[in-house]
Every structure is written in C-alpha cells, then in structure tokens.
Symmetry: C2
Subunit: 333 residues, 2 copies
DNA sequence: TTGTATGCGTTATCAC
DNA sequence: GTGATAACGCATACAA
C-alpha cells in the first residue's frame, strides 16, 4: 500500500505538507510544491487511508442502516433515499438485513459499534425487540434514529399510520361498503398495529361493529395477501372490501379474488399501502396509500447529521401520506 | 470513547492481556484474569475500534458493492444475496447506487479505496464505462469481481443471457408465433445486448427474418414496457408475442395490451426475465426466465473471499437460468 | 512556507 | 502467564 510517506518522499517534501494539500488546509502551501505533490499522488495512485485519519479526527463518515429485508419495497425505498442523502452529505452507508431476527440485529449493532459509525438508522425495529446495547450508550457519540414507532424514546421519522388507515377505510365506507375486512402484518409490527387501529377507528366512527373474522393476519408478502383473501372470501358472509397493509399483500389479494372467480373492483374492492412504482402498470392499478419511503430515508439521514451537528431536531418527525386512487375500488356489488 | 486502556486499567492488567482475550489468542491467559477482563469489557460497554485494528492487521472486513439502482428487482436480489453471504463470512458491505452515472461510480470507487475495502463487486457496470482507476491497481490487495459481461478482464459472475433469450424466444416459436417482437433495455446494457442477440439467433434459426420495427428500446422499467407495447401494437402488422428483458417491462407490456383492449395471452403472448417473487401473485402470472439473483450475489462475495485467500477461482463463473411458465403465453390468435 | 514530533487505539514482537 | 514497547498511517500543535 502506498502511504502518505511515499508521496512525501516522491515529491521531496514532508508528510505534513502533503497532509495540508490533502485536506485543503488553509495553511498556505506554495503553488509549485502543491503541483509536485498532486503529481506524486496521481502517479502513485495514492488514496489516503480513511481509518488512520479517523483515529485522529474521530470521524468515520459512515452511517449504519438496519432494515429487516431490502427486498421489500418499503425498505428498499428507504434504503435508496438514505443512501442518496448520505452520499450527498459525504457519508457512506453500511447496510444490514436483520431478517427480523434479533440475533442478527444484535450482531449488526455490534459490528456497527466496532466500525465506529457516526449514526445508526433502524427501520422496522418495531417488529423485533431492540437490542439492549442500544440503550446503554444513548448519549454517546453515535446518533441513533428510528424509522417508525417503536415505543422507545429515540429521535424518529414517522408517518401517521393510524390516520392513513382510517382515511383508506373511510374511503371504502363512503363508497358504500359495510363489510370491510383487513389483512394485517405480523402482530409484532407497530406499523401493522397502527393501521389496524386506524381501520377499527373508521369503522367505529361509522357505527359499524368490527367483526373479528374480518381481521386476518398476514406478513406483508403477496403470498399472505393471497391466502388472506382466500380465507376472507370463503367466509359465509364475505367482505365486499379488503384493506391490506401494503401493496404486495394488496396485489396478492387481487389475485386471490381472481382465482375464486371474483372481479376487482366489481365484486371486491381492495386498497393497499406504499404505492410501489410498479403499481401504475399492474393489471389492476391498486388504490393505495402513498408512503414517501424515499423521503423517509432521506429525512432519517438528515436527522442523524443534524444530531451530529448538535442541531435541534423535531422528533418524532412526521411525513405526510396520501390516498391515491387506482382502479381497485368501487361501490359494493 | 472507551479504549482498550480503560479496560486494562479497570481489570488491573496490561493492554496486551486484554488484547489477547479480545482476539481469542492461543497465548495462554489465566482463567481468573480472563474473567476479570471480560467483566470490565461488559461493564464499560467496550467495543474494540476496528480501524485501529485494521492499521495493524491490514484487514477491514468490508466489501464494497456498486449497483445502478437498488430499487430494481435484479439488483436488490443481488444485494440481498451479497449481504447475506458477506455477513456469514464476517464481512460488512458498503453499498453504493451509481444511478448509471459515471461520476457517481467514480466517486464511490474513490470512497471504497479510501475505506480500504478488501473487495469491490460491481453489478450493472456493463451499462457505464468502468472508471479507469479500476485498472491501475489490478493486482493490488483489493479484489474486484464483476457481475455480468463487461468486456474487460476481471473475475466475474454471469448468466448466459444469449442462451436464455434464445430459449425464451424458441418457446414462443414452438407455440406457433411468427411475429415476435422484443422490448430491450438501454443500448449500452450488455445484458440487453445479449438478450437481443439470443432473440435474433432464435428467429434466424427458425428461418424468420427479424424485422427492425419489432425491436423497440426500453430501459428495464415497467413504464418502458408499457410504452414499448403500445408502440408495437400500433404497428400496421403488430406482433403476436413480445419478449421483454425483465419482468417490470413485461408487466408494463401486459398492462399496455390491456389498455388497448387486447387480452394476454389470447391476443398477445409475453415473456419476461428475472422471475420476481411478486409474479406468482400478479394478475397474470408472467412466463419468465428465472435469473438467480440471490445466488449471483452470494457467488460474487464468495469469489471475492476466495480471491483474498489466494484460491483459484473459475471465471467467468456461470449460474444457470430457467424458463418458468406462467399464464402469459399461448398460441397466436 | 515548510518541517518535526506526538498521539490516535490497536496488535505484534520480544522480554520477563 | 504477563507486560513494555514499537509500529500501523495519518493530522495536528508547535517550531523554524
């Protein structure tokens, strides 16, 4: 490996001078000297060692991002936004998929600590117990930002899932639906819990008694949406509308209806969450609540950086959601 | 920050001894001493600084991963597999989205160099010019593995896109189609180029003259599939089957047919690539060529690690593809 | 405008 | 079994 000393030797100067041009120090450096050094750097293909630098400055310019599964549109949206913002602000991101397994989350947290990341963003932590190590060092140099509601007191970026689900359900009610079901996410997911609550509130306000058999548990996958719809539609008194907690479930539910010979939206209305990009070109454009995942990711990084700069941050910081109409909802048959 | 010295002081031993227990050194350490040290570590919440360690060992246990866009199923599949394998092998991954912008790719490469990553995996590089910096240091300590065909001589993981596209096209031919069109990716994408070649080969072998108006350029998005299908279906002599270069395009094309009042597969047959998971629950299950993205990501990391261990690797390393039948293909009308 | 010396937190070498 | 110390590559305080 070529070091700053090699550059200094080649340029015939001291390492200090090299360091000064490397860091655009305001300490004056002779133009010729600078040119010589830059030439040496280029010629040797020298890249400063970020870690030797870190040892002195204390900074790593790394932000850690923990998500359950990058394959899920909600999380890849967040990851994309976080990565973009981090890059713009001069940070690299180390990403870890926890698979919602506490042990993996612990392991990652340990890894991020050892790597001295400046901030850690945790998304989807609501569905696992957060590692206790997180709490020992709350006022330490590593800034922690959570995405979503976790019931613990860390700075966080959120959307109002209760309100969003209530609006979605309200929309179905206004279309005239009375028998509205919901396919949830895992019971441990705060996102799912909140959306379920919104659904219930809307029904209650409309004077409709929520039926327990209209609540089936899913897991945010298309498969669970498919199976959930099948369960619901085989009830003796099946729903005419189904709220799902994300678009994958929603699309799965659409397919479930189709396979039972039911049409969407003629026989069954369906709404989803996330407004994944692909939706605009799916066979039936799902009516869906837009969750600004990209912006959430960006905001989380921005919050980490603000915290590092000791700025005051507004937390929890809420981003807006919006019901976007597609083709999957209509009046009840 | 708590350092190894703090631990040593607290345990009443030297840093050397602490270091020994930290690294499970085979140098003997008294059981009681070890216990005291472990207690101190836990009590202080000490995590060794990976970078101070790196300065001595030379290792960072980081692998860099460059992808155009994590939002694309092909790439998030790869990212997922790479991350999982890296985690198992004790590596963290720094991921960068290049947006297919050379400047961003350059910037990331620089960043990865400064961060002294042990390996760099580049996916989708076929669609941009690879940064020249890559080539100055080919025999350096950083191992580089490419995913896909790039026309440059680096170890790589690939699938045979020519063969895969030929098989897909052959399937349509066997169904009786004569007028088969293709919606490609960007002209610079080697993946797209190879799939186009496979398509052409299949037609030629069947004695069919490929018509230039049956080749429309897309960009791997659902939108471009939608628009491409519209272009094709408005021809005076429209195709009865369309090959697309990924599932997003394929689903977009399905929707394009629908919006023109054409049915799939009754009026138009469509095949895609990637076999994204959601497909099983889409309204029309797309017939699609399975690309083992997860395994590709895993294999790339494994190759990096093998190279680091000076093992011989078989390169290019090919992974198999497989045409999986769905509901989107049938005989021509 | 340039250079010397110190130290960041750790591992490795050597001595005890 | 244990410990003192040099070295890793760099930035910084201080000196010239």
């Amino acid at each position: 490996m070529v070091t700053i000393r090699d550059v200094a030797k080649k340029a015939g100067v001291s390492v200090t001078t090299v360091s000064r041009v490397l860091n655009n120090s305001d300490h004056p450096v002779n133009t010729e000297t600078r040119a010589k050094i830059e030439a040496a750097i280029k010629e040797l293909g020298y890249y400063p060692n970020a870690w030797a630098r870190h040892l002195i400055t204390g900074r790593t310019s790394i932000i850690g991002l923990m998500v359950p599964d990058i394959t899920n549109p909600y999380y890849y949206g967040i990851a994309r936004g976080a990565e973009a913002a981090a890059h713009e602000l001069g940070y690299a991101t180390i990403m870890g998929n926890t698979d919602r397994v506490a042990k993996k989350a612990y392991r990652y947290l340990e890894l991020l600590r050892e790597k001295r990341v400046e901030g850690i963003i945790i998304a989807g932590g609501g569905s696992i117990n957060l590692p206790p190590q997180l709490f020992v060092d709350k006022s330490g140099p590593t800034k922690i930002v959570l995405i979503g509601r976790h019931g613990v007191n860390f700075p966080s970026i959120r959307v109002d899932n209760v309100k969003a689900a209530r609006e979605a359900t309200d929309y179905l009610l206004r279309l005239g639906h009375q028998r509205i079901a919901i396919i949830t996410g895992m019971q441990t997911s705060t996102t799912s819990i909140d959306r379920l609550e919104g659904y219930r509130k809307a029904l209650e306000e409309a004077g409709i008694n929520p039926r327990p058999e209209y609540v089936v548990e899913g897991d945010f996958t298309a498969k669970s949406g498919y199976e959930g719809a099948n369960r619901l539609l085989s009830l003796s008194d099946p729903p005419t509308a189904i709220v799902t907690v994300n678009d994958l479930e929603g699309l799965g539910a659409v397919r479930g209806c189709l396979d039972r010979g039911l049409r969407v939206p003629d026989d069954v209305s369906i709404v989803g969450f996330d407004r994944i990009e692909m939706l605009d070109y799916s066979y039936i454009r799902l009516t869906s609540v837009d969750i600004p995942t990209y912006e959430i990711g960006r905001a989380a990084v921005q919050m980490v950086v603000d915290l590092l700069h000791e700025k005051n941050v507004k937390t929890p910081f809420y981003l807006p959601t919006k019901l976007v109409l597609g083709e999957s909802c209509g009046p009840p048959p």
